[in-house]
Amino acid sequence: MRSFLTIRTVEIVVCLLLLALSVRVMMEGLRLGAGWSDRGPQSGFFPFALALIMALGLVAALVSAWRETVTRPFFEASEEWIDLLKVGVPAGLAIALTPTLGLYITSGLYVFAFMAWYGRFGWLQALLGGLLVPAGLYLLLRYGFNIAMPMSPWYRQGLLPI
C-alpha cells in the first residue's frame, strides 16, 4: 500500500481539498457581498480576496506537485505509520473522552493504558503513573492556579471531587 501513497499523491489530495474549501469560502464571501460600499469594503470582501489568494497558491502548488517526477513515499518505513497510529489513536481517544469523563479520570486512564500497553511497563508502575499524573495536575490546577477543568458526571452528582 505504501507504493502509491507518495508525498506527491497526498499533496495533490490535500491541495484539492483545500481548493474545494476555498471555493466554498469564496461563495460565502459573494453571499455576504464582496464588493465596495461607500464605507469601504463590504463584509465579504476580505474572505473572498483571501480565499482567492489561497486558491491561486493552491493551483501553483498543485501544478508543481503534478510535475513532480521523483517523489518519496509518504511513509518511508512501515514503522512510521504503525507508530503514528499507536500514538495518535490513544491521543485522539483521550481527547474524545475528556468531555464525558472529565480531564482527571481521562488522563489517569490514558497514562495508565499507554504505559502498560505501549511502554510495556508493569501493571503496578502503570497504575502508579495513572494515579500520580492526575493527582499532580489536580493539585497544580485546582489549588495552584484555580483553573476549572472538565469534570466527570459523578462530580456533578456530588459523588467525586473530580
Binding site: 508543481s64 491521543a91 475528556t98 480531564l103 499507554f114 504505559m115
Partner: protein
Amino acid sequence: MEALELLAIGFAQIADPARFGFVLLGVVLGLLVGVIPGVGGTTGVAILLPVTVYLEPLSAIVMLAGIYWGAMYGGLITSILFAVPGNPWSVAVMFDGRPLALQGKAALAMSAGFVVSFVGALIAAILFTFFAMPFAELALSFGPPEMFAVLLIAFGTFIGLGGAPAKAAIMIAAGFLLSTVGFDVVTGQPRLTFGQIALLQGFHFVPITIGLFGLGEVLYNASERYKVQIEEMTRAAKLGFHDIVEAVKATIRHFGLVVFSALLGFFTGVLPGAGATPASFMSYGVAQKLSKHPEKFGKGAIEGVLAPEAANNAAGTGSILPMLVLGIPGSPTAAILMAGIFMWGFIPGPRLFVEQTDFVWGFIASLYVANVAAVVICLTATPVLALMLRTPYAILTPIIVVLCIVGAFAIQNSMLDVWLVLIFGVLGFVLRKLEFPLAPLVVALVLGAPTEQALRQSLIMSDGSMLIFFERAISGPLTVAALLLLFLPLLQLLYKKYRGQAAANAG
C-alpha cells in the same frame, strides 16, 4: 544615557526575588522543553499561557520569555546528539554539529553552541536596549496606513524569504481566513460561520497553535521515532571543563563571524515575519562563503555550529522587538507572548513604552538575566538535561497530550478548543510532512484582525483610495518594500526564465 537609566530601573524590577525566581523557572522549563523530543518552545509557551493569568504581568512575561530562551539553548542538545532538531531554527546547527558528535566531539560542539548562543543573545540584548526607545518613538507617529504597510512587510517576508512562496501564501491566506470567522469587526455581520453558533465567537489562536505545534509535533515525532537511538548518545552528553575552555577559545578565534552572525540574526529577527529560522540558515551560508576552508562545512566545522547558533538566539531576541513596539509578532512564539500581554491587561505598541516603563524595562533586563542563567545551567548541568531524554517515551507522550488538552481548555473554558487541538494536530502532522510552513498560519491568524482594521481605517481616511499607502512619507517606502518582498519569488522566476531564454538564444 537614557536607555541605561531605564535599564537600571528594569534591573531593579527584576531584582525582586519572586520575579528572579520566575526568570529561572522559565529558563529551566525552556531547557527541559527544548531537550524533550515532542515539545518545542512554542508549545511550551502556549500550554503555560493560561496559567500566567494568575501571575502579575512582569513575572508572567519573564517566565514565558524564559521558556523561549531556554528552549533555544536546549534545542541544540538534541540537534547535535541525535540529529533531531526540536525546533526549526535548530536545523542549521545540525549540519556541522552532528558530524562533530559522530567524531566524538559532541561535548565540544555543545559547549561551543552554548557559549556562542550566549554571546549572540547578549549582543542582541544590547541592541534591543538601545533600539527600543527610538523605535518606539518612531512608532508613535504611525497611523493606520503605516501599520498596514508594516503588516504587509511581515507577510512579504514570509513569502519572499521563506523559501516556498506558494505554500507560504496558502498558509497566510488560511490563517487570515480563520481569523475572519465570527463577527465582522466593522459591520458586526457574522462571517464564515456557516450557520454554526459555536463559530460566532471566532477561533482563538492558542488552541490552533497548540494543535499545530503541540499535538502535531507529538504525531510527527511518533512517526520519526524508529530512526532515533537515544540510549547510546546520552552518554556523550558530559561536558568537561576542557571542552568549555576549547569552546570559549573557538568563539574568540571566530569572534568576527560570531558578531556578524549575531547582527544578521538580530536584524532578520526584527524584520516582522522572518524570525530565527531564516536567520540561522542565512548565517550558516555566510559562514561557509567567508570560510578559508568551505569544503570542511557539513563535515564538522566548528564555524558551522557558531554562526547559526549566534544568529538564531539573536533573532529570537530581535523578534520580540516589533511585537512590543508595534504589536506585530515576528514568530509564533512572539505571537503567543503578545496574546499574553493582552491577557495581562496591556496593549502592545509604542504606548506601552510610555505608560508601562517598569514592565517593558523589567522585561528587557530579564533578557540579560535569563541568558546568563541559561548559559550557566547549560554548561554545568547538561548531563542532567540529557538524562531527561531517558524519561520513557510512554510516560512523556500522554503527559504532553494531556497538557495540550489542559492548555487549550483553560484559555476560554471551551470544549470546542480541545477539539480544535485534535483537528489541527492531525492537520499539522500532514502539513509538516508535506513541508508546508506552519509559522505563517499562526502569525496571520493573530495579525488578521489588526491587518483588516488597519486597511479599513486607512481606506476610510482616504475615501476608498489605495493611493494613501504610497503617498505618505513613512508608509510609502514601507509599502514599496513590502510589495517587492511579496513579488520577489515571481521576479526571480521571471529572471530565471529570461536568463534561460537568453542562453538558449545565444546557444
